[in-house]
Symmetry: C2
Subunit: 395 residues, 2 copies
């Protein structure tokens, strides 16, 4: 049987223990919702002051003198290097996940003009499916949905041009293995677009090494960039020269200040920029990334797995018979940094959890999701969360 002291000991030995002080969290709250919105970095007020000070003093000059103009690529390269296994020049921070997926998918289908099918996983986040449907309708493609629990490989054939896949299922936290699936997609002659929203920042991701073609992801979950922070996109360098952004904007132009009436794309990944980006929002993301500096992402993943495993083990030991059913994979290897529970009275239980100081989230009618952010969540919080879950089940 696990004891609370065991978890205190794990916190003491935790190589990431120093990271928690980099975040501000309310007292008396166990926050297990970093998979929805990351907690606030302690330094973010200073970051905001800094960028507002630049606007105040430099005004329009900030675009050239303070690196504002380059920020989509400097910040993209930083995320690529720290968290995505991507060499410079393949990642930009811009727009939202929805818009970025639209741009990449519209561009990608044109690289496979003879293939009539876009593949998408049923388990994908709804927006991804909406975008796939919309692009397919406008381009005359057929959509093929990989049913929940089935493998992508079983649905690939020579008619599939592009496969849109989520790395970690937002509902269950099940991991779809990126390297092997990417290899399967590639060997069928198709291109892959991955949504990394629920994996970036908590797992080792090697986009270059795995031969991933394209990816999108968000910065407001485990990257802690703040509510609605801008998204990133990755396009492998070998594709860049032939990709056409369906929403060409002046920021993606090869020579924006020529102000010509004809579009000529930037030679690199900046061709996927559209309009002027929010400098403030970008700088908050940049500031939030400081918490990842000097951190080995392998340690992050190890702690993530241990946090979620401990949570499941404690539920088994201490909350059996209270109506909680683990929906997420029980094998840590197949589970992202989240545990989803089923409970028939989930909405009422959720309200009691919040009152008792545990914040996860509710996916009505019956799912409770708990995200574990290895940079700031502790092992003792896992214990205390389970105690609250025990109390909440009994009403």
């Amino acid at each position: 049987m696990i004891t609370r002291d065991d978890l205190v000991a794990l916190d003491t030995e935790d190589p990431l223990a120093d990271r928690r002080a980099l975040f501000v969290l309310p007292d008396d709250l166990i926050y297990l919702d970093g998979n929805s919105l990351g907690a606030q970095p302690a330094s973010i007020t200073a970051t905001a002051d800094e960028v507002l000070g630049e606007w105040r003093s430099d005004l329009i000059g900030g675009w050239t003198d303070r690196g504002w103009w380059e920020m989509p690529s400097t910040l993209g390269d930083r995320i690529g290097g720290l968290l995505l296994g991507a060499e410079a020049g393949q990642v930009v921070v811009t727009d939202t996940v929805t818009v970025n997926l639209f741009k990449l998918l519209s561009a990608a289908v044109r690289l496979r003009p003879d293939r009539a099918v876009i593949l998408v996983a049923e388990s994908s986040f709804p927006t991804d499916r909406y975008v796939v449907d919309a692009v397919a309708r406008r381009t005359g493609h057929e959509v093929r949905v990989v049913p929940r629990g089935e493998s992508v490989a079983d649905h690939l054939d020579e008619s599939v041009g592009v496969a849109v896949l989520e790395h970690v299922d937002f509902r269950t936290a099940e991991i779809r293995d990126l390297p092997s699936t990417t290899a399967e997609v590639r060997s069928s002659g198709a291109l892959s677009i991955w949504d990394l929203s629920h994996s970036a920042g908590v797992m080792k991701i090697e986009l270059d090494r795995s031969g991933t073609d394209f990816a999108v992801g968000c910065t407001y979950k485990f990257l802690n960039g703040g509510p609605g922070a801008p998204a990133f996109l990755y396009a492998a360098s070998q594709h860049l020269a032939t990709l056409s952004n369906p929403i060409p904007g002046w920021l993606g132009h090869a020579d924006p200040f020529a102000m010509t009436g004809t579009y000529a794309p930037d030679p690199g990944v900046r061709r996927f920029l559209t309009g002027t980006h929010s400098v403030t929002a970008m700088r908050l993301v940049d500031g939030a990334l400081d918490a990842f500096e000097g951190v080995d992402i392998v340690e992050v993943r190890a702690k993530s797995s241990r946090l979620t495993s401990t949570f499941i083990d404690l539920l088994d030991e201490r909350a059996a018979g209270l109506g909680y059913e683990v929906v997420s994979p029980r094998s840590a290897e197949h589970r992202g940094s989240q545990v989803t529970l089923h409970h028939v009275e989930a909405p009422a239980v959720f309200d009691r959890l919040v009152s008792a100081g545990l914040r996860g989230d509710l996916r009505s009618p019956s799912l409770l999701r708990f995200g574990f952010a290895p940079l700031y969540n502790t092992y003792v919080e896992v214990w205390d969360a389970v105690e609250i879950l025990r109390g909440a089940a009994s009403g």
Copy 2:
């Protein structure tokens, strides 16, 4: 002859004089570039503190408890009411001008399926032309360009489905009359999409009354929302039910948290939302709008016209023969809140202006643009700017 004392007197009588204190401007700088990036509202630090405080304390709860979720429409309605002559339910703040134009144009051409032409003004901001070209290419439309200086009416016929027009020319500040042009477009059976980036906040705009179909615009120029602040879009209510967003995202879904795999659009203008919006960036725009509360936009336009006219008059009186040529319309009625000058040595002159404390902007090779923001620019600044221009011309 105008004297500096005359301008001091105008400032004393200025009904908007109290507004300047609502902005922070560097000492020893005359900032005439509010048409590129608005100055910083003095309250913005407090606004930033407030929204960061909400994220810190409420975390994910901010989306429901702090109005974050509704912000695209609450902020859109606020801009619509204060500055666009738009009843509630027709404006959202979201994405960038580029992306919003793409969404509206893609939707609008489907309302005129039998018309093969998209009309666009040659003078439009480059991004607008790129988007028109891109949408036309993907939908099989033909692009018809209205040459600089020609009237839209002369290029309308029954083949034109949609006309994309800029309200104020970013280069010359020439106004294209919105009510009469909209009426001409409409009577030809076409739909109009206006780019209000250079007019919103400095002119009376009556979208509903003029029968405008669609509009886009930006919040970082005369609305002072900060560098790269999110854009707005307007879609007249009579069109809403039949419009299809080409980039359907979960925020535009009729029931986002149902998380269904099939898209069903919000019944209203929120169908044009895509992914999750930056709460921080939106709140800065909201805070910046406070400076417009209690202000009569007719007074703003009157001061704008007088500032630009005074600038031109002073150049005529005091800078004749120094190589400055007024490119903007000399009639205030046809001129937005900006004066553009031609000078053969514009880049060198521009550097000297900056050194002497006057910030406009340079559009190489030969144009200098000066924007006048009636909320914070003064008449005396116009005098002092012309004095600096006199000195800069002589090298």
